[in-house]
Symmetry: none
Subunit: 209 residues, 4 copies
DNA sequence: AATGAATGAGCGTTCATTCAT
DNA sequence: TATGAATGAACGCTCATTCAT
C-alpha cells in the first residue's frame, strides 16, 4: 500500500524493530515541530541512527511521510474501534458514549496537533488525501451503524449525510478545545451540547433526503 | 499591529503598491503550495522583484508571514461583516442566512486551503495563535448578538458557549466539503442540517449553564 | 588626506555635525563589535540616520573606515601630546611619567579594543598601515627627545632603536593587561617594571649602534 | 576539546585527511585575508571541495574557527617546546636563546599575521580568549622555569610577573618588526636589546613583590 | 542634505539524496 | 544492515552600492 518500503525488512528481525523506531521518532517530530520543519536529519537524530541508515529503510522523504501517516492513522482507527467496542448495548447510550469519547480524545496533545497537520498536508499531498478519506470513511461507518439502530426510518443516504455532518462538526473543535488551546476548559460543555444536538438530529430525522 | 514593517511605506507611493503586491503574491503562494514550501524566493519571484527588494519591505520571513496573515484575516473579517449586514431584520432569518453564507464560503479555494494552513501554523507559531483567537472572537460575537435576539433567556455564558460550538462545527467542514474536496457536492445538504440543528439548539436552550 | 569625502560638507553647518556624529557612531561600533561585524547599516542605525544619507557623507565603506581611523588616531595623538606636556621639567621624571601614563591608558576600553583591531586591519589594508606608521612615528619622536636629555651620548640611531623597542614593548601589553583582560590587576606592577627596565636601558646605553 | 567535531572522523581514513586539508585551507585563508573576510565558501574553494562537504566536517563556522585556532595554536606550542628543548644546559644561555628564537619567529609571515588576528578575535570571541590564555600560560611557564634557575631568590609571584612583562613585550613587536613590516630589518638589534634588558631585570630582581 | 527604493552578490546553514564501503 | 563521505540546491538573511526624487 502507501508508503511501502523496498526492502523486505525481515518481518520480525532487527530491521523490523528499527523501522518501527523510525516511525515513532517521525511521528513525535511531526507533533513537536510540525510538517514544516520535519526533516530526515531530525528524525534520524531522534531515532539515534545515521541518515544513511534511515534511508536504507525509507529511501525518500515521501516514503517515510507516507509510512508514518499510515501508521499513525492506523493507530487512530484501532483506537476508534476500541471506543466503539467499549460501549454498552443501548444504541442511544452507545451513540452518546461515542460522541463523548471522540471529543474528549481531542484533548490528547497528539490528536490536537496531528490532525491540523494532516489537513494542511492534504491540501498539497495526494497521499494524505487518500489516507484521510479512508480513515474518515471507516469512522463514519461506525456512526452510521449506531444511528441506524436509533432511527431505523433514515435512509442510507441520510445516515451518511448525518455522519458526515457530525464527524465534521467534531473535528472542527480540534484547534479550539484541543490540548493547550484556548477553550480546553469548555470541553465537557461542548460534549454535552454535541451529544444533545446530534441526538436530536438523529431522532427528529431532520436530514435532507 | 502585528507584523508591521519599519518603513513608513509612503501610504500611497510606489512603496505602498509594492508592499501590497508582495502580500498578494505571498497569500497566493501560501494557498498554492502551503506554508511548508513557502519561501521568500518564491514570493519574490511571483511578485516579480528581487529578494533583496522584498526584504527591504519585510526584513524577516516572520514579518512577512505576520503581515500576510494580518491582511488575509482582515479580509475575512471584512467579508464577514458584509455577510452580517446583508441580512434582513428577522433574527431567525438573519441567523440562517449567516450560517448558510459562512458554510458556502468554505467552497472558495482560498478559504478551503487557507484555514487548515492557519490551524497547523497555530500549532507552532504564536503569531498565528493570536491572530486566530482575535478573528474567531469577532466572528463569535456576531453569532452571539443574533442568537440573543432569538432566545433572550440565554445567559452570556450560554450564548458564548453556543457560538463556540457552532463556529467550531462549521470550521470543521472546511477540509471535507471545501473546494475540490470529496464532499463538496453535499454543501447544500450540510447547510440545511446545520441551520436546523443550530437553530434547535438556540431555541430549545439546551446549553449548559 | 586619507578618507576625505567628496562633498564640501559645509565646514561648520549641519553637515559638519552630521559627519562628526557618523564618525563617532562608527568608532563606537568598531569598539563594540569589531571590524569583522562593522557595517554601514549598523553605523547608520547608531547615528540615527538612513544609509542613503550616511552614504551622502561617506560614499563607500572604505572612505568611512579611513575617516574614522584618521579621527580616532588623531585623538590618540592629541591625547599623547597632552600626556607629554603635563609632565614636569626633570627628564627622568618626564620619562617615567610618560611610560606610566601610556601603560595606564591601555586600561581604557577604547584603547584595549581599538588597537588590536587596527593591527589586524593593518595586515590587509594599506590605509591602516600608513596611519599606524605615521602615528607611531610621532609617538616615538616624543620618547626620543626625552631620552636624549637623559643620556646625551646616545646617537640618533640608538635613540630611535630604543624608542622602537620601548613602544613595541608597551603596545604588547594591550591584550593582556587592557580593560577586561586577564591581567588587568597587574597594571601597576607592570608600570613599575617597565619604568625601571626602560630607564636602565637608556642610562646604561646598552643599545646596538 | 574546543571545537571538536561530532564525527569520529576515522582517525586515519579519508575523512581524517579531508578534515586536515580543510584546517590547512582555513589557516591559509585567515593568514591571507584576515578573519574579516574569512568565509566557508572561500575555505571550501581553497580546499577543493563543496561547501556541503565542508560542513559535513565542521557543521558551523564557529566550529571550524575553533578547530583551526586549536590546531594553529597547538603548532605554536609544539614549536615553542622544540625551541626550549634545543637550547643548551646553561640557564643564562638558555634564556637568551629563548628570547632570540621567539623574537626571530615573529618574522615568519604566519606568525606576523596570525597573532594580531587572534588578538582582535579575542576582543569579541570567548573561544579565542580561552585558547589565547591557555597558550600564553604555557609559554610563560617555560620562561618562569628558566628564570628561576638564573635567580633563585625570586618568588613565584615575581617570576610570573616577569614572565608576563617579557612575553607581552615580545608580542608587541609582531606588528612592527614582523614579516613585511616597516622595521623588519631592526630585528637583530631588537633581539640584542631585549636579551640584555630582560636579563638585567631577572638578575637585578627589580620586580615588585 | 536627506529619503526611499532597488539591485545583486555573498553569507552561514539545512537539506534530500546518492554512493562506496 | 549500517556508516561515512560527498553533492548540489535551496533557504533566510545581511550587505555595499546605486539611483531617482
Amino acid at each position: 500500500m502507501l508508503g511501502l518500503v523496498k526492502h523486505g525488512m525481515g518481518k520480525s528481525g532487527k530491521g523490523r524493530r528499527t523501522a518501527q523506531c523510525i516511525l515513532e521518532a517521525a511521528a513525535e517530530l511531526l507533533i513537536d515541530e510540525g510538517y514544516h520543519s520535519f526533516s530526515l536529519r531530525k528524525v534520524s537524530a531522534r531515532a539515534g541512527l545515521t541518515i544513511g541508515n534511515l534511508q536504507y529503510y525509507f529511501p525518500t522523504k515521501d516514503s517515510l511521510i507516507a509510512a508514518m501517516l499510515d501508521e499513525t492513522i492506523g493507530e487512530y482507527l484501532k483506537r476508534f474501534e476500541q471506543i466503539r467496542d467499549s460501549t454498552g448495548p443501548d444504541p442511544i447510550e452507545q451513540f452518546k458514549a461515542l460522541i463523548e469519547m471522540i471529543i474528549r480524545d481531542l484533548n490528547r496533545k497528539r490528536t490536537t496537533v496531528f490532525f491540523p497537520e494532516l489537513w494542511a498536508l492534504a491540501n498539497h499531498h495526494v497521499h494524505a488525501v487518500d489516507l484521510m478519506d479512508d480513515m474518515y470513511e471507516k469512522y463514519r461507518h461506525v456512526l452510521v451503524e449506531v444511528m441506524r439502530l436509533i432511527n431505523p426510518t433514515l435512509s442510507d443516504a441520510q445516515l451518511h449525510r448525518l455522519a458526515l455532518f457530525i464527524s465534521c462538526s467534531i473535528e472542527g473543535h480540534t484547534m479550539f478545545i484541543g490540548n493547550g488551546k484556548r477553550w480546553t476548559y469548555e470541553t465537557e460543555n461542548i460534549v454535552a451540547m454535541a451529544a444533545k444536538s446530534f441526538l436530536w438530529l438523529v431522532q427528529s430525522g431532520e436530514v435532507p433526503e
